[in-house]
């Protein structure tokens, strides 16, 4: 078997492992000579010692091979006596080989340890390609995270897998309440009016990618993304821009994340049980410079001293509703139990798993007025998965994947909310509760998620050069949200209740086919296909208020009830054709086009067409290339994709309202635009990737440039014309560009020590080019989308600015100054050093979204048993408003302003500088003064794993691993608010950001034991 043929086996088995297994398992009989022996052993990960089921083991010179079974074991029968080279390959790992001497009638034992490989040009990816494709054929960048990369890490959901590991991916932890979703962006922002979140697929089925119902009390929301059991995941592929996502069409400009779950492998049932026990904790809360042990009243609510505040401080007096522990914070208990089994036979195999987990947050919610313990913030969840594969014919592979999860989340009122716990505790006596903040916790805020995803993948290879693939499936999420203020609640004395039940259903039908042939020495692969997505959302919101008395409630317990309903269906679909030409298996040119229709397009718009083109050149395969360098691929890609407008944006409509005490009425809703089409993002990227120093260093770099034109802007209609709403129009333009690079080095690779170090850096700088005549769009909280302006002399000279980061600083009069998408524009003091009252002028300070993300990861393995793993990540270039600092300053309870408060109390206002007053004088403080650069570096995770020697284990146990893990362990920042990642609205699909009294991300510690049997 030549290296090329091995590659084809690898590719084929990645696409169709069952088919390969059917061919290979038990069929290694040649040559049928009497003088033969066997070769057997186990294939494991060099990183953590875990077996690698499905690894391809082959002796090329004999043209024989086999797949490792479900516990990583392999057996090659009838191997002629003599010395042979046994090669082992698996996607995502470096190939290894060993010389094995076979003695007739005996078994030669050879184990293999495969090292995870960041880049393998022979690795197969399927996301963004018409079918499966080898990495060497692809012209765009793609991040592929294999199980080995996160298996030992403290991963509680998919976002944790991506964070700090996937190049060009930003995962922001918005808050610390257990169950809250993260914000995920690929290559920053490129859309003004729509979500910049990526599409998400699981085993070929598109799932709801956005958060569910946003709680206006908890100011957080769950994300269906997080329902997926991370222990079920085999790998994740991420493609980031329009150049890569063209084949996904109208809704894919924000990128695509595809999750592949584990599959069965032939063999007896192989069980794996993992038990996690741990705790969530927070420690001191508040700005880093605050040394007061009260932690703004959260760490100590029975505080009676004056701490470190000069002159004493009554701001955080003892709260009579403070929990018995004396603090609003506690260590929350985490427990998770995961059981899985995989196995199968020649033509059918399976993977099944079940998980149950309960995780407490860090709030000590105390007891209510009746002495009953209040519910604890946290979540309880369980998941079930069954993945089954069977081969009804030699050339057909059918996979059935189904998943169900249930999650109960209990929230604490939080964030920008008059009834939020932190808002009232942080404000000391200047709050809504008369400083009895425990009353707030009598409000119940909960939600229940039920999530079901099921799909069928059918792969048919009727001939060696033709294949067809169908993915069809359903993603169904039911989200039920409850919010209740009990009868007698201090803020709404008669109580009220809200119930919001929503169902989100996505249907996927996806076909792709390809036909390969040789055209005059050029390898041709013609691909074609089509997709259809149907998105159905229904929801019922009920509200009841004014209860007659205490007790458990339903909506109709209220004297007054209200209801509303949401019910919509949108369908999108399209088809594509693509031609890939390959020359010498080293140069590849791909051309394609996709044509889309969408429910939300205007009636006069028609269909939309998106082109793509890419090339890749494996220059290291050329004779002139230094043979000892390694591999190097040059690549470039161009493509377009889009974002569709909303449901009725193209149509003039009126909405039903009530007036005159409940009589039916109508009000203008949407003006309508029959020419409305999608906004289009055109992107090109160029880069290279490869390995060197015997594959010990892997590297990747690309530059991308995105241009979103026909951008959908909510253009205000002429208010004096009466139709005062906004109307989406294809009038804007936004650009976004950046660099992405990573290098992964294997510093030490021996039998006793393995040490890998990874560095990654990505930038994304967006700028607004055109707003279709609008000058400015206020997204809220002074987050603006601003049209370009001409640089004035004042801007150039900085006369009106203090030089503290204005976007246009240094501009030349007359040139065009662009603003990022979006930008903080706030009032800032103009005479900071003057001993006088502050003078203010608006300055645009900088972007609200990080412009650069960098990561550092390392893995150290000792004796192939003890593994240390750490991931650090930094983000920066952006600004963040601390609403907490501003509002607390207004109430004279912000610790960083203590000296100014004292000076004011002493009647020394006239001795303060304008800057001191602008920051800390409650009578003149401005929000903009507490809008600051929010650069940070966080130690996202660290873990130590120990694989227990097999000799210590009873025979019934194959392997056991013990892990000690920590998450969100350290933060380094100069930001003076509560946390540079905190966002008051959680994972809400909005562009603006602001920190406003929401619980910052918390710290977790886990002890995990995995037993395989």
């Amino acid at each position: 078997m030549s290296p090329g043929s091995i590659c084809r086996v690898v590719g084929r088995t990645a696409l169709n492992p069952l088919l390969a297994a059917a061919v290979l398992i038990g069929t290694v009989h040649a040559p049928a000579a009497a003088q033969t022996g066997t070769v057997t052993g186990t294939v494991r990960s060099a990183t953590n010692g875990q077996p690698i089921p499905g690894a391809q083991v082959a002796i090329p010179e004999l043209n024989v091979g086999i797949l490792a079974n479900n516990v990583g074991r392999y057996l090659l029968n009838n191997v002629p006596a003599g010395t042979h080279t046994v090669e082992v390959q698996y996607i995502g790992y470096s190939a290894v080989s060993a010389e094995v001497t076979v003695t007739a009638g005996q078994a030669a034992v050879q184990d293999f340890d495969l090292r995870s490989e960041a880049i393998s040009l022979e690795g197969v990816v399927v996301t963004g390609t018409a079918g499966a494709a080898r990495r060497r054929e692809i012209g765009n960048s793609i991040s592929q995270l294999n199980e080995d990369a996160f298996q030992g890490a403290p991963v509680s959901n998919v976002a944790d897998i991506l964070q700090g590991r996937a190049l060009g991916t930003q995962v922001l932890n918005n808050g610390g309440q257990v169950g809250a979703g993260s914000t995920i962006k690929l290559r920053g922002n490129n859309s003004v009016s729509f979500s910049n979140s990526p599409l998400v697929y699981v085993d070929g089925v598109r799932i709801r990618e956005r958060g569910l119902v946003h709680s206006t009390e908890a100011n957080q929301q769950t994300n269906p993304f997080d329902d997926i059991n991370p222990a079920d995941i085999e790998r994740v592929e991420v493609i980031k821009g329009a150049a890569a996502t063209t084949l996904y069409g109208t809704e894919a400009a924000g990128g695509v994340i595809q999750i592949f779950t584990k599959r069965g492998v032939a063999g007896a049932p192989a069980w794996s049980l993992t038990v996690d026990q741990g705790l969530n904790t927070l420690g001191h809360i508040g700005p880093a410079a605050d040394v007061n042990p009260t932690g703004l009243g959260m760490n100590n609510c029975n505080f009676t001293g004056d701490g470190n505040f000069a002159g004493g401080d009554p701001q955080f007096p003892a709260d009579p509703s403070c929990p018995a522990s004396g603090t609003w914070l506690k260590d929350g208990y985490i427990q998770t139990y995961n059981l899985s089994v995989r196995g199968g036979a020649e033509r059918m195999n399976y993977f099944m798993s079940a998980r149950w987990g309960a995780e407490e947050g860090v709030f000590d919610t105390g007891i209510d007025a009746n002495g009953v313990a209040r519910p604890t913030q946290g979540q309880e969840s369980w998941n079930l998965r069954g993945n089954f594969s069977f081969a009804p014919a030699e050339d057909i592979d059918v996979r059935f994947n189904t998943f169900y999860s249930h999650r109960d989340v209990t929230w604490v009122p939080d964030g920008n909310n008059a009834e939020g716990l932190l808002l009232n505790v942080f404000r000391g006596g200047s709050d809504y509760t008369n400083d009895e903040d425990g009353k707030l916790l009598d409000m119940g805020v909960t939600n229940i998620n039920d999530h079901f995803t099921s799909g069928i993948n059918i792969i048919w290879n009727p001939t060696d050069n033709m294949n067809h693939r169908i993915n069809t499936g359903i993603d169904w999420v039911r989200h039920t949200y409850f919010e209740e203020r009990p009868w007698g609640y201090f803020y709404v004395q008669n109580g009220d209740r809200e119930t919001n039940e929503s169902t989100f259903r996505k249907l996927t039908l996806d076909y792709a086919g390809s036909w390969a042939q040789n055209l005059f020495g050029v390898a041709s692969q013609f691909s074609f296909g089509g997709q259809l997505y149907n998105d159905f959302v229904t929801g019922t919101l009920g509200f009841g208020r004014d209860f007659a008395g205490p007790g458990a409630k339903v909506l109709q317990s209220g004297a007054i009830t209200q209801a509303s309903e949401t019910n919509s269906t949108v369908t999108s679909g399209g088809f594509f054709v693509q031609e890939q030409l390959g020359l010498g298996d080293r140069m590849f040119l791909t051309l394609g086009v996709r044509v889309d229709g969408h429910s939300a397009f205007g009636r006069d718009f028609g269909l939309e067409t998106y082109p793509k083109a890419s090339f890749s050149y494996v220059v290291s395969d050329e004779d002139f290339f230094p043979a000892d360098f390694g591999t190097l691929k040059l690549r470039g890609a161009f493509g377009e994709s889009g974002k569709a407008p909303g449901l009725f944006d193209a149509t003039r409509t009126w909405a039903s309202v009530a007036g005159d005490n409940g009589r039916p009425g109508v009000t203008p809703d949407n003006l309508g635009n029959p020419d409305l089409g999608p906004e289009r993002t055109r992107e090109w990227e160029v880069g290279f990737e490869g390995t060197t120093l015997n594959d010990r260093i892997a590297f990747e770099y690309q530059y991308f440039d995105q241009n979103t034109f026909d951008a959908l802007i909510r253009v205000t209609q002429l208010p004096s014309g009466g139709f005062v709403g906004t109307q989406l129009e294809n009038v804007g333009q936004v650009t976004n560009s950046g660099h992405e690079a990573f290098i992964n080095a294997t510093l030490v690779a021996s039998n006793s020590i393995g040490w890998d170090l990874g560095l990654r850096l990505s930038t994304a700088r967006s700028r607004v080019v055109d707003l279709g005549g609008l000058e400015s769009i206020n997204l809220g909280w002074r987050n603006y989308v601003r049209a370009p302006v001409e640089c004035t002399t004042e801007m150039a000279n900085g006369a009106n600015f203090d030089g503290n980061g204005f976007v246009g600083m240094g501009c030349t009069p007359g040139e065009t100054v662009h603003f990022p998408l979006p930008a903080f524009c706030h009032d800032r003091v103009q005479n900071p050093d003057e001993v006088a009252a502050p003078r203010y002028a608006e300055q645009c300070l900088g972007p609200t979204t990080p412009t650069h993300t960098y990561g550092l990861s390392t893995t150290l393995t000792l004796g192939q048993r003890l593994t240390f793993d750490a991931v650090g990540e930094g983000m920066g270039g952006h600004w963040l408003s601390s609403g907490t600092a501003y509002q607390n300053t207004r109430r004279r309870v912000w610790p960083l302003c203590r000296s100014t408060f004292d000076a004011l109390a002493a009647g020394q206002r006239d001795q303060l500088t304008a800057r001191e007053r602008a920051l800390c004088d409650p009578s003149v403080v401005r929000y903009g003064m507490w809008t600051q650069p929010a650069d940070f570096f966080k130690l996202r995770s660290a873990s130590v794993s120990y694989r227990v020697p097999e000799t210590w284990l009873p025979n019934t146990i194959r392997a056991a691993t013990v892990r000690l893990q920590g998450r969100n362990l350290m933060t380094f920042t100069d930001f003076e608010g509560v946390d540079p990642e905190a966002f008051e609205d959680g994972s809400a699909e909005v562009l603006f950001r602001q920190e406003y009294y929401n619980l910052p991300p918390i710290r977790s510690f886990l002890l995990s034991v995995q037993v395989d049997f």
């Binding site: 509760t433 209200q562 919509s568 449901l647 039903s656 253009v715 004096s720």
Partner: protein, 454 residues
């Protein structure tokens, strides 16, 4: 057998493939949007829908008028901002620029346009008897009162469609999109309100006709035409009230003023004229929440520092905001009398109004005087001159009804010169009207240079 089974499997697979795409790829309706609940524009052109159109006019009026009342109360120091809204920090200092104006400009323009354009639609609806119809009368009333609201609170007016040279409005006006002085809104209101009077009377809707009569008195006052103002005011009984409707039926119908004071604690009467006069005045009732027996959830406002004197003029979500009142008519008559130098008539009208509220009559010091202002929430608390009495009585009578800012402006009130309650104004001259909105300037080239920021 194996070969046959494999062939059948392949055939089955192929069949499924073809069927799946045939069923989805050839039907145009597959891209149809399905979202019940929206009403298409053409569907409103029916006589059965007129009631919903006119109720929609009332609903759009109410939906924005409470916001205007809440905000102008802060801007004119009728109340003190006691909350955490970013805007409160600006308004209580007298700052108000074109961006601040966006929502209020949109609100009044929608209320005006919905009524005016609705009238055009109603006239053309087949089978609908336009003239002499009660719904027609109400539509004219809302159109007129929306223009009164516009003229009283905005520094300038702008009208774009729907009236053109070919299809002029009820008063023969055309809409050009140019900026005009605020009087244009008052003038525009006159024919609309006159039509409301006519149609109200002919359809037996006397309350609509009386409200329109009061509206005419208000707009003539705005134009400085005191003769016509008094003539129309005299037709409105002292106990008459026509109000914007609010209800707990739905969130949109709920009064924002109630929500900002009872639901939240964003404004307080503390240190204002109403707070100084005392809670006992039936026109300005409030509760001292710092009194532990008050039953308030908190003694202070949302800023944690300002004592919460919670207004009780609108103690429930359902309380309507008066738009036309007979008591105001008496004060218009009093003002006309003062302008004519007739102090006795003025005091008689003031006391007629006070009697309606069960208040003792006031006795002037015998001078007409001028409005002097002071530290009683902007009013002179001790002066008993005719104008200072009128200043206080209008303030208290029209409290939280969205009218005080207009009085400050038209009287060039001394409080505008840097006055403040609790917090000092940071500008020499407080904003006394809402400018053209930034949203208008961004899309209307004719006014693009008229917006500003402070």
């Amino acid at each position: 057998m194996k070969t046959n089974r494999t062939s059948r499997t392949r055939a089955l697979f192929l069949g499924a493939l073809v069927a799946a795409f045939a069923s989805t790829g050839c039907d145009e309706s597959i891209f149809e949007v399905k979202n019940p609940g929206r009403i298409l524009d053409d569907d409103l052109n029916t006589s059965r829908g007129v009631g919903s159109l006119v109720t929609g006019m009332s609903a759009d009026f109410s939906a924005s008028y409470d916001d205007l009342s809440f905000t102008t109360a802060r801007l004119s120091d009728e109340v003190v901002g006691s909350g955490s809204y970013f805007s409160t920090g600006r308004y209580r200092r007298g700052l108000f620029d074109s961006e601040d104006s966006n929502g209020f400009w949109a609100g009044v323009q929608r209320a005006r346009w919905v009524a005016e354009a609705g009238l055009i639609r109603m006239r053309d609806i087949e089978g609908f008897q336009f003239d002499g119809n009660a719904e027609t009368a109400r539509a004219y009333l809302f159109a007129g009162l929306a223009n009164r609201w516009f003229g009283e609170n905005f520094c300038q007016t702008v009208f774009s469609e729907p009236y053109s040279d070919e299809s002029p409005g009820p008063g023969g006006e055309t809409d050009t999109g140019d900026a005009m002085e605020r009087d244009a809104a008052f003038r525009r209101a006159i024919p609309l309100l006159e039509a409301a009077v006519r149609n109200g009377n002919s359809s037996g809707q006397s309350d609509v006709a009386t409200a329109a009569q009061g509206g005419l008195a208000q707009v003539y006052l705005g134009l400085g035409d005191m003769q016509n103002a008094v003539a129309n005011a005299s037709k409105v009984p002292t106990d008459f009230v026509f109000a914007a409707a609010y209800s707990s039926n739905s969130g949109r119908e709920t009064s924002q003023i109630w929500n900002e004071t009872h639901g939240r604690h964003e404004i307080s009467a503390w240190m204002t004229l109403a707070g100084t006069v005392g809670a006992g005045d039936p026109r300005t009732p409030w509760t001292d929440c710092s009194d532990p027996s008050s039953g308030c959830p908190s003694g202070n406002g949302a800023d944690g520092q300002t004592i919460h004197y919670r207004q009780e003029k609108y103690p429930t979500r359902d309380d309507d905001i008066p738009l036309v009142k007979g008591t105001e008519m008496r004060l218009i008559e009093a003002e006309a009398a003062l302008m004519a130098g007739d102090l006795a008539t003025a005091m008689a009208k003031v006391n007629e109004m006070r009697a309606r509220h069960g208040l003792d009559p006031l006795e002037s010091d015998g001078t007409i005087g001028t409005i002097t202002g002071g530290d009683g929430g902007g009013a002179n608390m001790t002066s008993m001159s005719g104008w200072d009495i009128l200043d206080r009585e209008r303030h208290l009578t029209l409290w939280l009804e969205g009218r005080r800012l207009w009085d400050l402006h038209r009287w060039n009130h001394p409080h505008l010169d840097g006055g403040g309650v609790v917090y000092e104004a940071t500008v020499a001259r407080r904003a006394s009207c809402m400018p053209i909105a930034l949203d208008e300037c961004q899309v209307n080239e004719k006014v693009s240079s008229l917006c500003f920021s402070v």
